[in-house]
Amino acid sequence: MPMRKVMKGNEAAAWAAKLAKPKVVAAFPITPSTLVPEKISEFVANGEMDAEFVKVESEHSAISACVGASAAGVRVFTATASQGLALMHEVLFIAAGMRLPIVMAIGNRSLSAPINIWNDWQDTISERDTGWLQFYAENNQEALDLILAAFKVAEDERVLLPAMTGFDAFILTHTVEPVEIPDQELVDEFLGEYEPKHAYIDPKRPITQGALGFPAHYAESRYKVWEAMENAKEVIKEVFAEFEKKFGRKYQMIEEYKTDDAEIILVTMGSLAGTVKEFVDKKREEGIKIGAAKITVYRPFPIEEIRALAKKTKVLALLEKDISFGIGGAVYADVGRALINEKEKPIVLDFILGLGGRDVTFENLDEVIEISKKALKGEKVEEVSWIGLRKEIL
């Protein structure tokens, strides 16, 4: 029988790792993710987890050791956040290019400067082009589930790409919630053994991984990553379906909430989705027809699902805890890509909020609705708005 335990998001991630039985874990402490490797070391120390734990001297070395271990052909897990993920940046490309299905838990945190340890999504969003699959969890249960699903998708032969599952710093990493821990037996059935055919180092198998690729071959190798990411869309759906069958919890690329007759749909990711759904309920009580949508899978980007969502509404209001300076939120650009060639499309507005751990309040969301309504009436509004800015100190 599955167990229910009250735990922090970080513990849920560590439990996911324990259930997935990686053979090697290499990690370096960083707020707010530190508890993940800490808990894993406890599991290893107690003999509850049979993994080599490499206590590296930096995140750069953490991911490098993961790449080496994954290339040796074993399941590998790590965790980090923020600056740590940024430090890993160059090796993230290597992991994807070499098709090593490493799974990483991220306590989504802002980036310096100024130094700030609290939540936004700038860390993972900034790694969107590395070739890693990206999942975003709304709560601690999702953190656990989406790490397990990430392993399954990443290791699928049609995909073979590394994956990161993000869950918001402190809001989830350090907050206790009841989490259902699935049966080990079921997880074993679900994941199976990782038995790579392409990339594994063996003394009997003199292959080269990561060889120099000249202009005559480089693009083809990159295309293979593109193709794998495209394949992932189908694989993710299959994996989510199997997950639901086995564990009873349903996941989708995009989860919709009261969208059918919504004039405005608030689109977001991560724990903010919880707040937004509550807000939708409140507004609906007031007779305002709004809905919500949560992007669970950000890479590959759910283009078809966004198009379907767009057909249902007049305004898509994107709530983003990230910023790509000089253009707007990253998700804004992605949604734009999904809709640009659609004949009919809603107004799409971008709202930057919740940066560096700033709370997102109902007042903030009211402001989003106000701006969206103005746009609906044909009034000119900013395409990208910063919500909740303390203008008095600017």
Binding site: S61, A62, A72, Q209
Partner: protein
């Protein structure tokens, strides 16, 4: 290649080749020869990690491959971490790593990738005492990017970013003693070696295999392209570097030092014999040469004292 039995007896090196011809190293490349020796010593019982460096090119561009052993190519500064990861992965799969008949996990990085950008990962590898061998092939500059100084470049050397000029004349800092940094970690085994003395090098490789824990070898590997030296002088230069005590060969094991070469009883050869064969030193004044000679002898005395103290 089939080596006749009678020759095998006289040949002091293993006959098998797991380093294949057709590679694209420059003429007279010391690093290529070093790789040939390592592959001779370990055959295909070693797994190599090479960061971005000249050896990336030597190992072959896709789909060509110079190696007859598994090879993993990685980012510039990651060698120490990657071999730690490979070791962990292989152990998790139940392989015996290191020891008499164990698999060798070998990192092969240049002086830039070791003394500079890779120093942190090297330190981590040594400190965590991974069962692996880190070989730094030392050609005393960033050769792959076009001969820029590294912290392993000796004082007085010309490189493309220490070109001389009125205000700033050639490399101003002495060669960083990476081996001393390594020994400060008290590793299981550390040694210097030279491509001019393959038997000594291969003996050290075998020793590094037997001893459990982190091992390190700094291999002196001349680069005719970067040193502006004739391609046929690579071995001669490597030999002179040892004979002048510019690059003495020694071992550190279990807290003890052992000097292999040159003889501690005789005066080393004058450094100038080594310097004059290389275009990179041609801008040095008499005073520069005298100062470098003095530095070499002082370092040599220091090593001898250590060897005397910890024997």
């Amino acid at each position: 290649m089939e080596i006749p039995e009678n020759v095998k007896k006289r040949l002091s090196l293993p006959a098998e080749e797991y380093f294949y011809a057709g590679h694209t190293a420059c003429q007279g490349c010391g690093a290529a020869l070093g790789l040939r020796y390592v592959l001779k010593a370990y055959k295909n019982r070693a797994i190599f990690t090479i960061p971005a460096c000249c050896s990336t090119i030597i190992a072959g561009a896709w789909p060509y491959l110079t190696f007859g052993a598994p090879l993993f190519q990685t980012a510039f500064e990651t060698t120490g971490a990657v071999i730690g990861g490979i070791e962990a992965g292989l152990k998790a799969k139940g392989y015996k790593v290191k020891g008499e008949d164990g698999i060798m996990v070998v990192g092969w990085a240049g002086d830039g990738g070791t003394a500079d950008i890779g120093l942190q990962a090297l330190s981590g590898f040594l400190e965590r005492d991974h069962d692996g061998l880190y070989i730094m092939y030392d050609n005393e500059a960033y050769m792959n990017t076009g001969i820029q100084r590294s912290s392993s470049t000796p004082k007085g050397a010309w490189t493309t970013n220490t070109p001389g000029g009125k205000k700033h004349f050639l490399e101003q800092k002495p060669k960083k003693k990476v081996i001393d940094i390594v020994i400060a970690h008290k590793p299981a085994y550390a040694a210097t070696a030279s491509i001019a003395f393959p038997e000594d090098f291969i003996r050290k490789l075998k020793k590094a295999q037997k001893i459990k824990g982190a091992s390190f070898i700094q291999l002196f590997a001349p680069c005719p392209t970067g040193w502006r030296s004739p391609t046929d002088k690579s071995i001669e230069l490597a030999r002179l570097a040892v004979q002048t005590a510019y690059f003495p060969l020694f071992e550190y094991e279990g807290g003890k030092y052992k000097i292999n070469m040159p003889s501690t009883k005789k005066e080393p050869k004058p450094l100038e014999e080594y310097l004059k064969l290389q275009g990179r030193f041609k801008y040095m004044t008499k005073e520069d040469i005298a100062a470098l000679q003095e530095w070499v002898l002082r370092e040599w005395e220091e090593l001898k004292k250590k060897a005397e103290m910890f024997k």
